[in-house]
């Protein structure tokens, strides 16, 4: 199997093997019935297109405990967006299920917010920054004073309290993504999904935004699922990384990030443990890209 030449403390693999409708395959960390806030079970998605069927996701099983920041990393085309759409009720899975606080997700749930990668296309260009952030609250019927307060707080939290009257397209990419985050924050979700939110912003802005996500996560006590294809980002941000195989996708590995809770762009990233975890995730992703599948390896042995 994959042997690491270094003699470090082992990476903490939280996943296990399980019997699923798709065979004896690795699955992510699961919790006893009723303990998970978000639970994904045997999720499968096959796209039926004119050119034939595309099996984007074969079988994904994992749980998110309340209040955790989990990163999901996988090669591009591995079905990360597909998974998020299924979790957020935008897409009906071909098989399997998603449960939020014990309730089956069949449409967009009430306590969930999603931040998409395409910030330029997820903000309403005909509304000013403030109106963009306020709209979901307004539509939900919240009274004016309360939502005004929430919007102010959210804009302040993301450092945008100085541009409420600008239009989104007048702002830089990083600032637009901040608006999208502010909108999610003001919405006060229990679960926050983020789909490669910083893939299109420059490196410096990206570091700031990563710290912003951690700050927001801590302040709100929200459960976050952060999707990325950036290995460093996945290790830096969360307390756990779920690594996806390449398509048709299963959970390649589910590891615990045992870095100290206080993260710092310079210090954390230069620590030995960070390098080790990063190395491990990198290795797994390389394997995934080459089409190595834990289940297939098992069968060959």
């Amino acid at each position: 199997m994959t042997t690491s030449p270094e003699e470090h403390t082992p990476v903490i693999n939280q996943g296990t093997m399980a019997d699923t409708p798709d065979g004896h395959i690795p699955v992510g960390h699961t919790l006893p019935e009723g303990e998970a806030l978000l639970s994904v079970r045997n999720l499968k998605k096959i796209y039926h297109t004119d050119g034939g069927d595309i099996e984007a996701v074969r079988n994904l099983t994992f749980d998110l405990p309340k209040g955790e920041l989990t990163c999901l990393v996988g090669p591009s085309g591995s079905g990360k967006t597909t998974l998020l759409k299924a979790i957020s009720g935008l897409l009906e899975p071909t098989a399997g299920e998603v449960k939020l606080a014990g309730n089956l997700v069949t449409g967009p749930p009430k306590n969930m917010a999603v931040v998409f990668q395409e910030y330029g296309r997820s903000l309403y260009p005909w509304m000013r920054v403030r109106e963009n952030v306020e709209l979901p609250l307004k539509v939900a019927g919240m009274d004016k004073a309360k939502r005004s307060q929430l919007v102010d707080d959210a804009l302040e939290a993301v450092g945008l309290d100085h541009v409420p009257r600008s239009y989104p397209w007048q702002l830089s990419g990083g600032m637009q993504q901040r608006v999208a985050i502010a909108r999610a924050v003001a919405y006060q979700p229990e679960v926050l999904l983020m789909d490669e939110p910083f893939a299109a912003v420059d490196a410096q802005t990206r570091a700031d935004l990563e710290d912003l996500v951690r700050r927001v996560w801590k302040q709100l006590g929200v459960t976050v699922l952060f999707v990325t294809h950036d290995i460093d980002e996945s290790v830096y941000l969360g307390s756990r990384v779920v690594i996806l195989s390449s398509s048709p996708t299963i959970v390649q590995q589910d590891i615990k990030i045992d870095l100290p809770d206080e993260r710092d762009q310079l210090e954390t990233r230069s620590s030995a443990r960070f390098a080790e975890l990063r190395h491990h995730v990198y290795e797994q992703i390389q394997l995934a890209k080459q089409g190595f599948r834990p289940d297939a390896a098992k069968a060959q042995v």
Binding site: L90, P108, V114, R121, S122, Y124, L135, P136, Y167
Partner: protein
């Protein structure tokens, strides 16, 4: 200075044309080309206040009514047809058929069905002017950005709120383009609707002048029509610039970047 320059650009060509016409028509001997003196005389004697109230204002009123009905009908039906695929499939052949029928040929039918009053004339205008708005609205609804639509779903913006805050504004650039096309169609149909069984109206008056060979008066009527068209398009531009300020701003930004 800049304003002066803009002003020159706006009035420059019309002024040149006017001067050219004055010079050219001065030595006219043709019965169909009145001299400019005849024209200005005809203009001031023909378009008196009483003529305005009996012929021009009612016509313009019908024109405005026709445009408003076309806009409302075009947007409402366009939103529905654009939103539901089954409705689109159901309506498409029928819509194509009615769109292909020139409204003019339906005037006799309308006269029988609705009578010869204002209703009939407004109906004729609507029947021609509604299509660009309707079809553009359908296109606008269908070209909705997928990410924006997903975002709205995840924030549970649905029903009336979805139409008001998402679908309508996102289709607005196309709707406006449709309205612009409809304005000129409506003006033409306003004239044509007064060709049958009418006894008043701007179109009727012009046609009467033509039939009685009152050539300077006929020309002056055509000038009035042209002026109405210019005013309409001017108002439209002001409204469009306000409603689509975000759209033009965004486009400018994209082009600059």
């Amino acid at each position: 200075m800049r304003y002066a320059k803009n002003f020159l650009y706006i009035v420059g060509l019309p002024a040149l044309l006017l001067i050219g016409w004055v010079l050219w028509s001065a030595q006219s001997t043709s019965f169909f080309v009145p001299t400019w003196e005849q024209m200005t005389n005809a203009f001031s004697t023909t378009w008196t206040w009483s003529r305005m109230t009996t012929d021009v204002f009612p016509s313009v009123g019908r024109l405005i009514a026709g445009i408003i009905v076309s806009i409302i009908l075009g947007i409402v039906v366009g939103l529905l047809v654009g939103s539901f695929r089954w409705l689109r499939q159901l309506m498409e052949p029928t819509m194509e058929f009615f769109r292909a029928v020139p409204p003019v040929v339906l005037i006799p039918v309308f006269m029988l069905l609705i009578g010869i009053g204002d209703d009939m004339k407004i109906a004729v205008i609507v029947l021609g002017a509604v299509w660009p708005i309707l079809l553009n609205t359908v296109e606008g609804v269908r070209s909705m950005d997928e990410v924006l639509s997903d975002t709205s779903h995840t924030y549970r913006i649905s029903g009336v709120a979805r139409i008001r805050y998402l679908i309508l504004p996102s289709a607005m650039p196309q709707i406006m383009a449709g309205i612009r096309q409809s304005l000129s169609i409506a003006l033409i149909l306003m004239v044509i609707s007064e060709m049958f069984a009418s006894s008043a109206g701007l179109g009727y008056t012009i046609i009467q002048f033509q039939r009685s060979f009152a050539i300077p008066e006929m020309w002056s009527g055509i000038v009035v029509l042209g002026l109405i068209g210019v005013i309409m398009s001017f108002i439209f531009q002001i409204v469009e610039r306000k409603v689509l300020a975000w759209y033009h701003g965004q486009r400018e930004m994209e082009n600059a970047g």
